[in-house]
């Protein structure tokens, strides 16, 4: 404890440092070997020249990347107005699902039905049904906007997932916490609001972050009902240049957001696991 691991002193530290060097060396060599094989062998494939021109075209990439980045702003905007509404609706559903008051049974049943339906459907199907179905009623502008109804579809589906995650958090709060709060004379709703929910929501932050990362990716599905967001824009460029490189650009832009976010969620989850053990 406290000693600098790069200056091993004890026998065990010297041994472990040697083991670590060995493991790093083997890992580095095998990774380099695999990379070399890919770099050397893939260009030998008969179609490589064509693939390189169509998917890895530097010129097309440079021409389309700024436009893609610009289109991605729409993805972010859709995400930003959906996310808070999902959080609010998800929380309301989670609470409604746990209602025990007999008079509120219809609300509870509605929440159960809602969650079952929207968790049980492919996102794209909900987007089609709502995004084409509701404007099909012949509503006047702006009520026929695909942005509106496409976003609603995402909100409904993701709220159902968030509700289930929050509910699992509520169930993970130990009964002794409820008992302690009840024994102080707090009402059932105060116990929920001040003791159970704050702990439950903290616990499910990483799980919900993963859901919101998935949401950011699924925003691209709205392109099927109209909005020219990044995926649709990449398609436009593809047709224009007869080249698939714009899709690669779009993929890189998604990864630039999702990989750091996923790593951060993992980090939060690890920290919680450590804190609880």
């Amino acid at each position: 404890m406290g000693s600098n691991p790069s200056y091993p002193r004890t026998k065990r530290q010297i041994y472990e440092a040697r083991q670590r060097r060995r493991a790093n060396l083997i890992g580095g060599l095998s990774t380099a070997a695999v990379l070399m094989a890919i770099v050397l062998l893939v260009p030998l494939a008969p179609g490589w020249a064509a693939v390189k021109r169509v998917f890895f075209n530097g010129e097309v990439f440079a021409k389309t990347f700024p436009g893609l980045l610009n289109a991605f702003l729409l993805d972010i905007a859709i995400f930003l107005w959906c996310a808070p509404l999902i959080a609010v609706l998800g929380l309301a559903l989670a609470i409604a699902r746990d209602l025990r008051t007999p008079a509120l049974t219809p609300l509870r049943l509605a929440a159960v039905g809602f969650i079952d339906v929207f968790r049980g459907l492919p996102v794209i199907l909900v987007i089609y049904l709502i995004g084409f179905g509701i404007p099909g009623l012949g509503l006047p502008r702006p009520w026929n906007s695909p942005y509106l109804w496409g976003s609603l579809a995402l909100i409904l589906v993701y709220a159902a997932y968030v509700a289930e995650v929050i509910r699992s958090g509520i169930e993970s709060v130990h009964d002794s916490q409820r008992n302690a709060a009840l024994s102080l004379g707090l009402s059932g709703s105060d116990v929920m609001r001040f003791v159970v929910l704050p702990q439950a929501i903290r616990r499910v932050v990483p799980a919900n972050m993963n859901l919101f990362i998935a949401l950011q990716k699924d925003v691209a599905l709205l392109s099927f009902i109209g909005p020219v967001e990044i995926f649709r824009q990449a398609g436009v460029y593809k047709s224009l240049y007869a080249n698939f490189t714009p899709y690669l650009g779009a993929a890189l832009i998604f990864l630039a957001i999702t990989i750091p976010a996923t790593r951060y969620a993992d980090h939060l989850m690890n920290r919680q696991r450590k804190a609880r053990s």
Partner: protein
């Protein structure tokens, strides 16, 4: 304030836990419940605080049958404080927020109005410099003292203590027992489930020996500890003393 238990019975599924408990608690009294694990001490306390509904019998608070099915437990619990073996502080709140939550919500008092009232409680139990700490920054003994303050802040007329020193490291037991001694000195009405025989002997008015869901023997500590009448009481005491 008088709490009367008449023939209280409770089973978990097919397993009877309380098999006809009669007990009267009068103001200022301190009752210690002793007995082996599973003898029903904890369940009895939880029934008194209406955390567990009883199957048969009655619990009367000042003559009102609080155990009646459908009786609102909330006002009862506001008069009967409880402290648990595992502290059960709310981990997302500081010590002082733990203490102020119930008075704020139940009595509608503001933080500003409450602080001057709860600060002396923290000071009295040696926790003046721990008010803004979170539970995970406190030792077990400190957490348990905060839990006691939290219950006291509701100004209960009777306090139930469920083996509150059992989860503590031995060197921390003393500081919690000191708090109980203090409350005893102030005349607080208390019922304790405890394994601290020396403490029960020193301070209790009445010691009840529970065995398989019954109060097998009850009396002043001198009688229970020195001249127990029942063979089972003697057997239990010889194991723990």
């Amino acid at each position: 304030m008088t709490l009367v238990l008449e023939n209280v019975q409770k089973a978990f599924g097919d397993v009877p836990v309380l098999r006809g408990i009669d007990l009267t608690i009068v103001p200022g009294q301190m009752i210690c419940l002793i007995g082996a694990s599973g003898s029903g001490k904890s369940t009895l306390l939880r029934c008194m605080n209406l955390l567990e509904p009883i199957d048969d019998g009655r619990i009367l608070l000042d003559g009102v049958e609080i155990s009646e099915p459908g009786h609102d437990p909330q006002p009862v619990r506001q008069r009967i404080g409880m402290v648990f073996q595992s502290y059960n502080l709310f981990p997302h709140m500081t010590a002082v927020e733990n203490v102020m939550l119930a008075p704020r919500r139940v009595h509608g008092q503001s933080r500003a109005a409450l602080r001057p009232r709860v600060e002396p409680l923290f000071a009295r139990f040696g926790l003046a410099d721990r008010m803004e700490h979170y539970p995970d920054q406190l030792s077990g003994g400190q957490q348990q003292r905060v839990a006691i303050i939290r219950a006291l802040a509701m100004r209960p007329e009777i306090m139930l203590f469920d083996e509150i020193t059992s989860a503590l490291d031995p060197e921390l037991v003393g500081e919690v027992l000191d708090v109980l001694r203090h409350l005893r000195g102030e005349g607080m009405t208390m019922v304790l489930a405890t394994h601290e025989m020396g403490f029960a002997r020193e301070l209790a008015d009445t010691v009840c020996f529970l065995d398989q869901g019954r109060i097998l023997e009850a009396g002043p500590p001198s009688q229970i500890f020195e001249t127990p009448q029942e063979a089972r009481t003697r057997a239990f005491l010889s194991r723990v003393l």
